[in-house]
């Protein structure tokens, strides 16, 4: 996220002196005008008035810098010769040798090395400075209009093998630059100057109309940096009410302003703005977002509670409520379980020590945790899986998958069995699942369930092809054999005979079937 880019300042002293003069003039004007145009005071926050330029270095500073540069250039002569060894040719650091990111690491590392060496007195050596190449033109010099004399120069002297003749590009020098030394810039010219990275005082635009004109020109120039510059000026000099009102009809500027406030973390003003615009959902989300930066769980919970009254959309509001309820519960569960674990009396915590705290975990993770540690608790407790399922309206599928995974992890096969068993009104039991039994097998197998357990569920897979493929994979021979029998597929059964152990019970069963005259084989 780049924040808007700025205007450049020019460092030539002439411009600076000139600049100062303009400012002085401005102040003078201002004093006169405040008397005559009192009505403008509404829009002008005079207490904050201060000459505003993009560059307020003054001549003294420039001179100081110049002398410092001079000193430095002398100093260069007494520079220590850095006899850094040649770089290694091969690197396993993962970066290609010679690339910049590789070199960053490399030189930093060698720097550490030299750090450890004892400091010897520096021996002055003469390092000749590189002669600056004056020929040719770089991109920026072309666009900044720095080309001396404005003559076209060909690129060919810098680009070794280009056969095309290149002329100076069309961006050479905008007309407006000739107006550098004219004082009275219109809003449009001011924006152009800012865009070209030059200084231009905004203070002279004092009427609301002028300010808005400035803003509109900035917007139509599409230069985010200039728009932001104008907005900062307006923010300083207009009352909030007026600024907000005017921004409302200028969507682009408004978005830049919102972005600017976000970037500078001016949360208060941002919320105020959004509220004024009636963008209540945005306000709510923005405020809600803040919870992410609160580390303490109790504070976070309280903060979430305060979010409940925010104007979310109906659905988001329900989610935020759930978020709060969940954290509230997690805090209670965490406190109880931590104590139980420390007490050392509860078997499950001894056998399977908790790896992490449950705080701030997603709901399903919390459910898994409770299915793991609190499976058989009565429905009334906070940590009871059934209670959680109820409170958060967890879908049947999600509940089953989670409970299955947790119980399978504990190898509590009876619980797994019970999960899928239902009784009909005649009292017969049968297995039912909201997920495909194929998925159930998958979960069980991942938790290394024994074949006896697996085959119960493989047998329940509805699609015969799928069932056979799973049964073969998990070596549930009975199921394979029975399925082929049901499909009346003699050939396949014959083929499978070769895959079971010689003289095994399975082989006998296959032989029995193959010899059975009652079956009408399809092949």
């Amino acid at each position: 996220m780049l924040i808007s880019k700025t205007t450049q300042c020019s460092y030539t002293p002439t411009v600076h002196r000139y600049q100062k003069e303009i400012q002085r003039q401005d102040v003078y004007h201002f004093n006169n005008m405040t008397k005559s145009k009192a009505d403008e005071e509404d829009y002008w926050n005079s207490s904050k008035f201060k000459a505003f330029t993009f560059d307020d270095e003054d001549d003294e500073l420039i001179r100081l810098k110049e002398s410092r540069q001079a000193v430095n250039s002398i100093q260069r002569l007494v520079e220590e010769d850095d006899d850094e060894d040649d770089v290694e040719k091969v690197s396993w650091s993962g970066e290609p040798v010679g690339s910049i990111s590789w070199s960053v690491k490399e030189t930093a590392a060698s720097n550490q090395r030299t750090d450890r060496e004892p400091a010897f007195p520096k021996i002055p050596t003469d390092t000749p400075s590189l002669s600056k190449s004056q020929s040719g033109y770089s991109l920026s010099s072309l666009f900044k209009g720095k080309t001396k004399g404005g003559n076209f120069q060909s690129f060919t002297d810098t680009l070794s093998d280009s056969s095309i003749r290149l002329y100076a590009p069309e961006l050479r020098k905008p007309k407006s630059e000739y107006k550098d030394y004219v004082s009275d810039w219109s809003p449009e010219e001011t924006i152009q100057r800012l865009q070209q990275g030059k200084t231009a005082p905004l203070e002279k635009f004092r009427s609301l109309q002028d300010k808005l004109l400035l803003l509109d020109f900035a917007v139509s120039a599409h230069d985010g940096n200039v728009i932001t510059a104008v907005l900062i000026y307006l923010k300083r000099t207009l009352s909030k009410e007026v600024l907000f009102r005017e921004l409302e009809s200028r969507q682009t500027a408004l978005r830049h302003f919102i972005h600017y406030l976000t970037e500078t973390k001016d949360q208060r003003l941002l919320l105020e703005l959004l509220r004024a615009l009636g963008r209540t959902e945005d306000v709510a989300l923005l405020q809600y977002k803040e919870h992410l930066s609160i580390a303490d769980e109790n504070k976070r919970r309280d903060f979430l509670k305060s979010c409940l009254s925010l104007p979310f959309s109906a659905e988001d509001s329900a989610h935020v409520q759930d978020h709060y309820t969940l954290l509230e519960r997690q805090i209670i569960i965490e406190a109880t379980d931590r104590q139980a674990e420390r007490g050392g009396k509860v078997e499950i915590f001894q056998k399977f020590p908790r790896r992490a705290s449950i705080l701030n975990m997603p709901l399903i993770t919390t459910l898994y945790y409770c299915c793991f540690y609190h499976y058989s608790e009565p429905e009334g407790t906070y940590s009871s899986p059934l209670n959680i399922r109820q409170a958060f309206k967890i879908s049947e599928k999600q509940y089953f998958v989670t409970a299955l995974a947790a119980r399978a992890k504990l190898k509590a096969w009876l619980d797994v069995d019970a999960l899928f068993t239902s009784r009909n009104w005649l009292g017969f039991t049968r297995k039912k699942s909201p997920l495909s039994f194929q998925r159930v097998v998958d979960v069980l197998q991942k938790n290394s369930a024994p074949t006896q357990v697996l085959q119960d569920y493989v047998g329940l897979v509805e699609d015969p092809d799928m069932r056979i493929s799973l049964a073969q994979k998990h070596k549930c021979h009975d199921i394979v054999i029975n399925t082929y029998r049901d499909m009346k597929d003699r050939q396949q059964l014959l083929g499978y005979r070769g895959k079971v152990g010689r003289g095994s019970a399975e082989e006998r069963k296959i032989d029995e079937l193959l010899n059975n005259q009652q079956i009408r084989w399809k092949n």
């Binding site: 996220m1 780049l2 924040i3 808007s4 880019k5 700025t6 300042c9 500073l61 540069q69 430095n72 250039s73 100093q75 260069r76 520079e79 850095d82 770089v87 396993w92 650091s93 993962g94 010679g98 690339s99 910049i100 960053v104 030189t107 930093a108 720097n111 390092t127 400075s129 600056k132 190449s133 770089s138 991109l139 920026s140 010099s141 076209f152 680009l159 095309i164 002329y167 590009p169 961006l171 050479r172 020098k173 007309k175 120039a221 599409h222 230069d223 919102i258 972005h259 970037e263 809600y288 992410l292 935020v320 759930d322 969940l326 975990m361 709901l363 999600q398 998958v401 799928m466 493929s469």
Partner: protein, 611 residues
């Protein structure tokens, strides 16, 4: 060093040279020995412009990464900060400068902003009281970086988010500036076409900038005949789909950043079985991927199903010696298949192509018969693909999809879920409220409620939305633009749909139709897609009108605002190579993306997504 940039239709090395020259000029401005303190993000993009050797020639002796605290000591005269204009970086710089003054005295400080100076940043430095400590504050305009012989990227990651979520048009301004630079070097582009709001903005800015510089004519014979500006939000579908070209797949699995892929070290350990493992590399290795590597250039744009055949053909040429080497291996996981790639760097090693062959073949075979049980990585890959293709062909897009449901239950990575849900939404012109609510609920319950923020972002960006009208216009768009081709030929493609094994990227279809027969033939569909479509002409000085030779190809620069995928690039390269197309394409973009990086850029706090 960057010869691959000059082989294309347009010599992009000119642009690179110009950028290098400017860098040299800035470095020479700071006379004497230097240390560069890098905003780490910039090292990637800069790597495409210059190597360390160039910096060294200009007395850069040390390089550090920008970190808070004290600067490492270095006996240099100048400390130069290379940074993006971001406020948080300014605070770090201020800290560096402050702690510096106590320990050293005579080092000079400079800042180079990339790609633009920022008033806000300078204000911040001033507030921190360090602005006066800098001798030079300059900007390095790095708008369009040459990436390959036919490819330019701004490497501006947040462009889509800024344009469509935050409505910040700064990236568009940079785009327009970059295009002006390009025109300065390669001539005025006489025709500009565009589709989308951002495209319109960029074109407006370009025309305006041209007016501002009126009076001086660009005397360069135009290299580009046409510029096509395309908004990413005109085609939200394509980046969501899994890319199936070789390079696209590498990007999907390992991620390509700034032209480099980072491969885990274990990929290099395979050959030395039995040997002591202590010598094995522990850090990931980076490889550069571009047309400089001949073999890579040959296969990168092929459908992964065709890579095997291409390589085995190549293998026969190189060597037959290792033919039997990896026969024992049966299932190639996709990861393994791509992992062999490092050997590509050295295509001279004769075994490399054969190493790849078997894995790719087993992948190709797998894709024909859909796997039974979702266990292995490659099977999960094809399951995912099946669902994507169902959505793209319009099957059951109005219902809750069980595969997505299962993936959530399995806690698959959130981004994968979001990609699929968004895809379903786009292919259905919005989801039924009930379906949307169900997905949202499941996602928040499984991955955490804080993702409310991300879901809201996706809605703002138009990737996820409730159906507003009962009419779903996606089928009409699909049929008119022939987005789905039933039997795409992956081996010897005759249509761009090969890059997604059946799906022809919408963005590229628009490009193709523009070239022939023209957009007038698809007015109706253009109206269904967001944003205006337009055509502009830029006057050329009379002497510069091209006298076209018979049969000479025209050149179009296609600029994707908000990102482009490797598969789309492959499709455009395919069109360039078609004998009767008469058009060559150069591609430019704000950033090379894939579904994952793209969705990530739209998330709030993506780092908190890993459970």
């Amino acid at each position: 060093m960057a010869a691959h940039l000059s082989y294309g239709r347009v010599n992009l090395n000119i642009l690179r040279e110009a950028a290098r020259k400017e860098l040299r000029e800035f470095l020479d401005k700071c006379a004497g020995s230097k240390a560069i303190v890098w905003d780490e993000y910039l090292t990637g993009p800069f790597g495409l412009i210059a190597q360390y050797s160039l910096l060294k020639e200009h007395e850069v002796e040390k390089m550090f990464t920008l970190k808070s605290g004290r600067l490492p000591s270095a006996d240099v005269k100048n400390i130069i900060f290379f940074v993006r204009p971001r406020l948080e970086l300014m605070d770090i710089i201020a800290e560096n400068v402050f702690s510096e003054d106590k320990h050293h005295s005579s080092r000079d400080f400079h800042i180079l902003f990339v790609p633009r100076r920022s008033m806000l940043c300078e204000q911040r430095l001033k507030e921190q009281g360090v602005l006066g400590s800098f001798i030079n504050i300059d900007e390095y305009i790095l708008d369009l970086i040459p990436y390959d012989g036919d490819l330019l990227s701004m490497e501006y990651e947040s462009a889509f988010r800024e344009c469509y979520l935050e409505n910040d048009q700064t990236s568009l301004y940079h785009t327009a500036k970059g295009l002006m630079t390009l025109q300065a070097l390669y001539g005025t582009i006489p025709q500009i076409y565009g589709k989308g709001d951002c495209a319109r903005h960029v074109a407006n800015m370009m025309l305006r900038m041209k007016r501002e510089f009126a009076g001086t004519q660009n005397q360069i014979l135009p290299v580009f005949d046409t510029l096509l500006l395309l908004d990413r939000n005109v085609d939200l579908l394509t980046p969501l789909a899994t890319q199936l070209t070789y390079e696209g797949l590498i990007d999907e699995i390992y991620g390509i950043n700034n032209g480099y892929v980072k491969l885990p070290p274990e990929k290099f350990a395979q050959k030395k079985q039995g040997e002591a493992s202590k010598d094995l590399p522990t850090e990931p290795k980076k490889l550069q991927l571009n047309s400089a590597e001949e073999l890579y250039a040959e296969i990168r744009d092929k459908n992964f199903n065709a890579v095997g055949a291409a390589l085995s053909k190549k293998a026969k040429i190189i060597s037959a010696a290792f033919e039997e080497r990896h026969n024992a291996k049966t299932v190639g996981e996709i990861k393994q298949f791509v992992s062999q790639l490092p050997h590509m760097q050295a295509a001279r090693t004769p075994c490399f192509p054969t190493l790849l062959k078997n894995e790719i073949q087993s992948l190709s075979n797998n894709s024909r018969q859909y796997p039974v049980s979702p266990v292995s990585a490659s099977e999960a890959f094809f399951d995912n693909l099946t669902v994507e293709q169902e959505f793209m062909t319009g099957v059951d897009t109005d219902k809750v999809n069980t595969y997505i449901e299962d993936c959530i239950a399995q806690k698959d990575p959130l981004i994968k879920i979001l990609r699929l849900v968004c895809m379903q939404s786009v292919c259905n012109n919005g989801l039924k409220q009930k379906v949307l609510d169900y997905y949202k609920r499941e996602i928040l319950q499984t991955y955490g409620y804080e993702h409310i923020l991300t879901l809201n972002n996706l809605e703002k960006g138009g990737l996820l939305k409730p159906q507003t009208s009962s009419r779903n216009n996606y089928p009409t768009i699909r049929k008119t633009l022939k987005l789905w081709m039933e039997d795409a030929n992956e081996q010897n493609p005759n249509d761009i749909s090969y890059v997604y094994s059946g799906y022809a990227p919408l963005s590229i279809r628009l490009t193709q139709v523009l070239a022939r027969p023209g957009w007038r033939s698809i007015e109706e569909v253009l109206k269904m897609l967001p944003g205006p479509h337009f055509e502009e002409r830029q006057q050329l000085p009379s002497g510069l009108h091209k006298k076209r030779q018979q049969g000479e190809n025209r050149t179009t620069l296609v600029f994707f605002l908000g990102g482009v995928t490797y598969a789309e690039i492959a499709a455009l390269r395919f069109l360039s190579q078609m004998e009767d197309s008469g058009m060559e394409y150069i591609i430019a973009t704000t950033k090379l993306v894939n579904g994952t990086t793209w969705i990530k850029s739209l998330m709030d706090r993506p780092e908190s997504q890993t459970p």
